[in-house]
């Protein structure tokens, strides 16, 4: 199997971004990848409602948005008590690449992190990775989400030095 060419037509994607233009660009990319089922939301609050109804297989969210940002959205989704699929892969897109933002996103349980400008190839690779190499989840007293200690060696977005200390309980 060529891992770079899965059929994405049966999967449902939820795209959350406060910019109409960015949602259109992301949706255009997804259609190009062969995605057929896309729901859009303009902030985290609307995204939660859409996630509960649409039951997406993959969520792509912006980080900073009014009403509810991507970090708070992810934290809410990852709550095992939430009425959404708490295991759903979440790809966070952001124009801000400061390390503390990356760590914040990772600490609330994002699956993949992608900085803007968004390139079609990079987004496609992240989507394929969530499908073909799903991270196991880890649950501690303070964290529930993907096991970043298991991240792929070829992932150049996050380095080993950035790994959060969420896997150990003293």
């Amino acid at each position: 199997m060529d891992p770079l060419k899965p059929d994405l037509s049966a999967l449902k994607f939820l795209v959350i971004d406060d910019s109409t233009f960015m949602r259109r660009i992301i949706a255009t990319m997804l259609h190009g990848f062969g995605v057929r089922h896309i729901e859009e939301a303009e902030n985290g609050t609307a995204g939660l409602e859409a996630a509960a109804v649409f039951k997406p297989d993959i969520i792509i969210t912006d980080s900073l948005m009014p009403a509810m940002d991507g970090t708070e959205f992810t934290r809410t989704i990852r709550n095992p008590e939430s009425n959404c699929n708490c295991f759903v892969p979440i790809i966070m897109l952001t124009g801000a690449t400061e390390q503390w933002r990356v760590l914040d996103a990772r600490d609330v349980g994002v699956t993949e992190f992608l900085s803007k400008p968004i390139a079609a190839k990079a987004l496609y690779q992240r989507i394929v990775a969530t499908l073909t190499e799903p991270k196991r989840f880890v649950k501690t007293e303070t964290y529930f989400g993907p096991d970043w200690g298991q991240h792929r060696a070829e992932d150049d977005t996050l380095t080993a030095e950035e790994e959060p200390q969420v896997h150990m309980i003293d």
Partner: protein, 170 residues
């Protein structure tokens, strides 16, 4: 939904993600497999490119409007600062994606200043220079790397921002 779990001696539970997604995607076969999905997405995006300048113009209008609001008395209202910061943050991510990296850098400079100064200490004149530079860049249609003058201006402002925000000695 079931998930295989394993708990280790330090009370950390590892959870194999339920295989909800795997049955939903299959490798593309035949003619469909011969098509490069990334190339197809990039081609679709190129058809949108005629809109990029107008979209960016609308985003810059939001920045100018929120900046004008912020400069009106009464000063230092959190809501006005948040609105302007959000506009600058959005522009940082979107401008680069739309092919205007110089505008992205200028918007990023505004974000950095706003993240490093309290409203009462904010270097408003320097922010104003960034805003004026963004106006000039959109007027001059400074796509890609822009002109030599535009690059020099962006670099000059970035240097000032770095000197004002980075700890000395770094």
């Amino acid at each position: 939904m079931t998930a295989a779990t394993e708990t280790n001696s330090i009370n950390v539970k590892f959870i194999a993600v339920p295989p909800d997604l795997r049955p939903k995607y299959v490798p593309l076969r035949g003619d469909a497999a011969a098509i490069d999905p990334v190339a197809r997405a990039e081609e679709a995006l190129s058809k949108l490119a005629d809109n990029f300048e107008r979209w960016l113009g609308e985003e810059v209008d939001v920045l100018l409007r929120t900046w004008a609001e912020l400069r009106k008395p009464p000063a230092h209202l959190p809501g006005k600062h948040n609105a302007f910061y959000l506009a600058a943050h959005d522009l940082r991510g979107e401008a680069a994606t739309l092919g205007y990296p110089l505008i992205s850098r200028l918007a990023g400079g505004i974000c950095t200043l706003m993240e490093n100064f309290a409203p009462e200490d904010m270097p408003y004149d320097l922010i104003d220079q960034h805003v004026l530079a963004i106006k000039a860049a959109i007027r001059e249609k400074a796509e890609g790397n822009g002109s030599e003058t535009a690059r020099a201006l962006v670099q000059h402002l970035a240097k000032i921002v770095a000197e004002m925000t980075e700890p000395s000695g770094t």
